[in-house]
Amino acid sequence: MPDLSINFAGIKSPNPFWLASAPPTNSGYQIMKAFDAGWGGAVWKTMGVPVVNVSSRYGGVNYRDKRLVGFNNIELISDRPLADNLREIEEVKKRFPNHAVIASLMVQSRQEWHDIVRQSQDAGADGFELNFGCPHGMCERGMGSAVGQEPKILQMIVEWVMEVATKPVIVKLTPNISDITEPALAARRGGADAISLINTIQSIVGVDIDHFAPYPVVDGKGSNGGYCGPAVKPIALNMVKNCAQHPDIQLPISGIGGIETWRDAVEHILLGASSVQVCTAAMHYGFGIIREMTSGLEQYMVDKGFHTIYDFVGKALPNVLPWEQLNMKYKVTANIHAEKCIGCQLCYTACEDGAHQAIKLNADTRVPEIIEENCVGCNLCSLVCPVEECITMDRTDSGTEHLTWKERVEAGTAPTEFNDERAGGRHHWVPEPSAALGKERHKTLPGKARIYAGETEAPAEA
């Protein structure tokens, strides 16, 4: 059996799955329940001066019948007295000494930071996570993302914390910034032991179109909130990668953002995370999802021959390059496997209207055909195809040539002028503009409307 345990900057945990600092970690009750269910660690809901919250607090983005592909909140940090939280931390640690309990903190003055760090340490917390990420409510008070967006202030506060901390310190970063590596570097300079990212993204999750107010609606009004859930994973993955690849950061990364299944966790780990944090999925489905996550991760590790998490932390990083270093000689072409095709023609209309007009229809069959010379290998058809492996992107170059944009620039063969022939654009076939007019009206108009409009069933072939 593979070993799922981790030692994250000195914080030990039986598996890499932690609950992120959020509503699921509001109380000792919830965290004990989560550990009972199999979670490896929990970052306590951010403690500080207790807040007062509003009602309602959450908003969701649904896609068709799928609920909460995106989620946002306008809830603040813990509204519970610090003493209650600390007492429960102690209780949890007593019952679960081998699980990770991390105290998330957010206060203002140096003195407050010193006090809360000391008290959390005394309560038995295994480490700290400094909440420099919250993008709503707290930032207006000079905390949360207001700190995360100011590397100098961030560094100063980390230094305050390090003055008294005897346990590992993680700095939680906000994605509401143009370059995530800047606050990460500041954390490093301040002496932090690790970073975690991403916190939520400033957002308006939707608008009530009947009452003209943003969700979640509070007495007819709303406010910007923090966005999370499956939809933010791509943003998180990119920022995790940016921090993991930066030569001067060199800190353990706790990956956060859109993690719902073992697969999401593996992706974060492959891009450099060595622990992962989960919130929305637990809020949506409860703590029980951990069973699928650990079993999936274990199976993946068995299948790949990995013994520990560290066998694949950052394993995809060497393959993430700047665009200019990608091989321009590599070429794939779409291939429709007719025996699997169900004739929905989504690939056709997607390529025709949204890409490069490289798919055509033939009489007497609904199976479209790839026009190989027009196919640029963009993947769009294979992405819209509803049938597994019906459209494959198959390599068509010889596999022997390698040329990057960077090399072309260095060799002086890159296009530089407006009408530069070296771009090769003139050789890409595009139809005449006017060929579009009326081309498919007979197919896009509903049935009998074709006849009523005085049109023939199909235009005469040119």
Binding site: R64, D65, G343, P446, G447, K448, A449
Partner: protein
Amino acid sequence: MAEFSTPTTEQEFAENFAQLKPLMNRTEALFESSRCLFCFDAPCIKACPSGIDIPQFIRQINSGNDTGAARTIYEANYFGNACGKVCPTEVLCEGACVYNLQEVKPIEIGRLQSYATTKVIASGKKLFGPGAANGKSVAVIGAGPAGISAACELRALGYEVDVFEAKAQPSGLTVYGVAPYKITNEETLAEMDYLQAQFGYHTHFNSPINSREELIELENKYDAIFLGIGLGKTNALGLPGEDKINCTGAVEFIAELRQQHHKIVVGRKVIVLGGGNTAMDAASESARLGAERVLLAYRRGKEEMGAYEFEYDLAKGVGVSGVFNVAPLEIVGDDYVAGVRFIRTETIDGRVSEIAGSEFVEPCDMVIKATGQAKQTQFLSLIPGLEVDGKGRIVANAHTGQTTNPKYFASGDAWNGGAEVVNAAAEAKLTARGIHAYLSK
């Protein structure tokens, strides 16, 4: 043992005749509409005789625009709700759904269609109205799917429309002929009320037109006459004993069932003669009315039945048994039906021949003849110059519905020989346009 006990109350009747396509709630409609792929040049549209833009209305339901969905449906087919419920969707839109090729359940298009239309009917939202009056008028004979559809379309084009109907209610076979588990009377009539409120045509019920004098009156008063007269009574078989008590035609049996519900009495052992969809309905209905045994007797082989496979499956599912290659020779009994004398048959090179000496009597106490409906040739002969073809169908222009008497236009069963509600609705829309073109000359 009967699968169903004889219903004695309206509630028991409703249970025995539970809707095959029950109304969806919002959640189910959201889930089902989410599955639609939004095919390009979607096969479902092509498979629909009325050409409803199905992916469009499904997308509208999915995005919460149920009213727009209903508009899309009604723009193509005025019997939108009825068709959602009674259409043989298995062989039309749903049969064409690309999911079938993947062995995935096709989208429940019919139920989604009814979801949108029932919502707009219940709300009474106004989607359509009559066009600006053009000073001309059309008489519509028959308030079935063809007649009502023509009336709606003609009103939209600005005509005054009077609909004359022999029976007491509109919608024709939708309320008098379709199996009760496909659509209820209330649903059917609610859609009729909705359409009439939108378009404002005049209906005249219990007003049969069956004399030359009445036709002359219409010819003088109206600019054109639309024939949506459908078919007539069940064909007589010409067998001895056909006049015995409890030997009835399927059309008559179903019409009574639709109006009387559980008050209708069915035999303990019923023999249904025929192999078409109406035979399947009559057999299913007999079983659901509590008949102990229902035999479906067809003179050819099972594979040769005209009924859709799913209709036969439906009948089998309620305990009906099929007997094939048997031809009725006589209805036996004294005053009442006591059985049917059959002779076995075989089909050789497509021709049915009787096997000598194979006669037998199958006892029963009710016989339902589902052997086709007669054409209304006698009525049609009252219209000068109007031609019918060798099968008794009205001859009319395929694009305009104009008959060989230029003042008369036709659609529906009387023209096509007997098809679905959707065919009549689609044809009538086309024919209304034909009338408009003719009167606009």
